[in-house]
């Protein structure tokens, strides 16, 4: 019998701890498939951010370093500078990357470090229990914006993929979603492209993935998928915002 579907080699045979309807599992799989496709597993080091994604090492069959909250791009910089022929990626949530780690992500991108950043944007702090994130939408209720995010008080949700695309050091910056089979295919393509560009020493690559957090959104998995289409995508448009064609930085 022909096998048509299997666990990627880059993932361990372990059950995800993620909540039902959470997209982390899907994103783990997309990354693992990209590593498999380019035969990168044996030379890949992942850097786990702080949050639900900290358990990267429970699922990926690769070397992993744990970074302090927000500092994954700096840790990845150290790793990659010592091991330029290895594949290094960070896996960070929106609180980790766009709040506490804003300085590290911007400067790592600006230096054009040849690493890949997997940025999971679910508009909320997941692990700590659903607090407001820098990407929380206006009006969105969270445990620390119980009346809905108000720009007078909290400012506006940050569009990271667009912002980083303005930096010369960035080779690839894209935003994708996982809410439909078509979007999933585009997400898969973007993740693969990011790793392929790193293999080719193209510089800094980032893929922002709009992701569901049913538990902290207080929605069912199905309603969460609908929310991505109705609320997230209109504010966080999908697309490729930067794509460098050559290795020359300017």
């Amino acid at each position: 019998m022909k096998q048509v579907f299997k666990r990627p080699q880059s993932l361990k045979d372990a059950a995800f701890h993620f909540c039902p309807g959470c997209h982390h599992g899907t994103i783990h799989r997309l990354v693992a498939e990209a590593l498999d496709q380019f035969h990168l597993r044996e030379r890949t080091i992942g850097v786990a951010g702080v949050g639900c994604s900290v358990f990267l090492y429970e699922y990926f069959d690769i070397d992993v370093a744990e970074a302090p909250h927000g500092r994954a791009p700096a840790v990845a910089t150290g790793l990659k500078r010592v091991l330029p022929d290895r594949i290094v990626f960070t896996y960070q949530g929106d609180g980790d990357l766009a709040a506490i780690g804003m300085s590290e992500i911007v400067h790592t991108a600006n230096r054009g470090e040849n690493i890949t950043v997997i940025f999971v944007n679910n508009t909320v702090y997941g692990m700590t229990g659903g607090q407001m994130a820098p990407t929380t939408l206006l009006g969105q209720q969270t445990t620390t914006s119980p009346y809905g995010r108000d720009f007078h008080q909290d400012g506006y949700p940050i569009r990271m993929a667009e912002m980083l695309a303005t930096l010369e050091g960035v080779a690839f910056s894209a935003r994708v979603a996982l809410n439909t089979p078509a979007n999933l295919q585009k997400a898969k393509k973007a993740v693969k492209q990011a790793f392929e560009m790193q293999m080719n020493d193209m510089g800094f690559t980032i893929v922002e993935l709009l992701s569901a957090c049913p538990t902290n959104w207080g929605l069912t998995p199905k309603k969460s998928i609908e929310r991505i289409e109705k609320e997230l995508i209109p504010y966080f448009p999908l697309g490729v915002f930067k794509e460098r064609k050559g290795t020359n930085h300017l």
């Binding site: 370093a65 744990e66 840790v75 910089t77 150290g78 010592v82």
Partner: protein, 350 residues
């Protein structure tokens, strides 16, 4: 015989680091340690080293964490306020058991403080500094020669124990120029780095982490670290002492305060006073055994520091119960002068 060089403390330290095989440096400008990154940014180009001027001390210490996890000899340097910013990362280095060298060419504080020499960071360096129950190896040079020699030793001790090592200098030690012997690097026997992250090629995946959530894991890890710090306490205390079996008083000081104290002790002896001298070189592990032995003969101690009293607590904990410990503090601004300390010696000995 080695060549002798007439150089600044900061440069001596950077030269020592290169000799010890340090090829990765991450740092952010701050006075009075800028000679270190300036020297390394120039010299690393000649030895295929990697120099990054980071966006902050927070980024520096985490780049250091990444480079250490990849198995490289790496360092950062800063001065007091910058070292405060690094404490989170130092705690992670200690928790993840990563070897790295952190240089603090300390200045005065609290707050923005000033750029003059101070010993106000003794507690921060020797008590861990960041969150959690950990210790860092702390080396305290008192000369340009030791800035160089202890920089080399710091890399070895960090690797030996898989632990961050801090070299605690100050503005005087960093900025003053002295002659020193250009000694070669001689490595201690070191364990293999069989834990570094390189990608799991032909071996199971490796992990560098400090998160322990499962029942009992964190407690076991803390006891394991405690046992490691115990080994350091047994094997690594270093100190300088001037033996004087008849002495009635021992003056204790570290770093640049020890230089002044030593001069004062010499003057006191010239006047016929029976005074000994003791200088901890490792601040952690603190040479408490050696101090205890001295205190079984000599019952009076005078501790001199360029702060309002920090190491004096360790001296009190170390010496015999019937020993009397007095303290002379000279907070930052200008350093103490030997004549001033001579007066204190006279008061303490009478």
């Amino acid at each position: 015989m080695e060549k002798r060089l007439f150089i600044k403390g900061n440069e001596a330290l950077a030269r020592g680091a290169i000799k010890a095989g340090c090829r990765y440096y991450f740092g952010y400008p701050i006075t009075p340690q800028n000679d270190i990154p300036e020297f390394l940014s120039k010299e690393f180009a000649k030895v295929e080293g990697c120099f990054i001027q980071a966006e902050s001390e927070v980024a520096s210490i985490n780049m250091l964490l990444g480079a250490a996890a990849a198995g490289a000899r790496a360092m950062t340097s800063s001065s007091s306020p910058g070292i405060s910013l690094m404490q989170e990362g130092i705690s992670y280095l200690a928790g993840s058991e990563l070897p790295a060298v952190i240089v603090n060419i300390s200045r005065s504080g609290p707050g923005l403080g000033g750029i003059s020499a101070s010993q106000g960071d003794y507690f921060q360096a020797t008590r861990g500094g960041g969150h959690g129950d950990y210790r860092t190896i702390v080396l305290a040079p008192d000369s340009v020669q030791e800035m160089h020699d202890l920089a080399m030793l710091a890399f070895d001790l960090a690797d030996k124990y898989r632990n961050p090592a801090i070299l605690l200098g100050d503005a005087i030690l960093g900025q003053m120029q002295e002659t020193m012997a250009d000694k070669p690097y001689q490595s201690l026997p070191l364990p293999p780095k069989d834990w570094i992250l390189t990608g799991p090629s032909g071996r199971p995946p490796r992990l560098v982490k400090s998160l322990y959530l499962k029942d009992g894991e964190m407690e076991r890890q803390n006891w394991r670290l405690f046992e490691k710090y115990g080994r350091m306490k047994k094997e690594e205390p270093r100190f300088e002492t001037t033996p004087d079996p008849d002495s009635e008083l021992t003056v204790v000081a570290f770093g640049s305060a020890a230089r002044v104290a030593k001069s004062a002790v010499r003057m006191a002896r010239a006047e016929g006073m029976k005074v000994g001298f003791f200088r901890p070189i490792t601040l952690f592990p603190f040479p408490e055994e050696a101090l205890l032995r001295i205190s079984q003969r000599v019952k009076r101690f005078l501790v001199v520091e360029m702060n309002t009293g920090q190491m004096v607590e360790d001296v009190k904990l170390a010496v015999a119960r019937d020993a009397e410990v007095t303290f002379y503090g000279h907070p930052p601004g200008s350093p103490p002068v030997p004549e001033e300390l001579l007066e204190e010696i006279k008061k303490a000995i009478l």
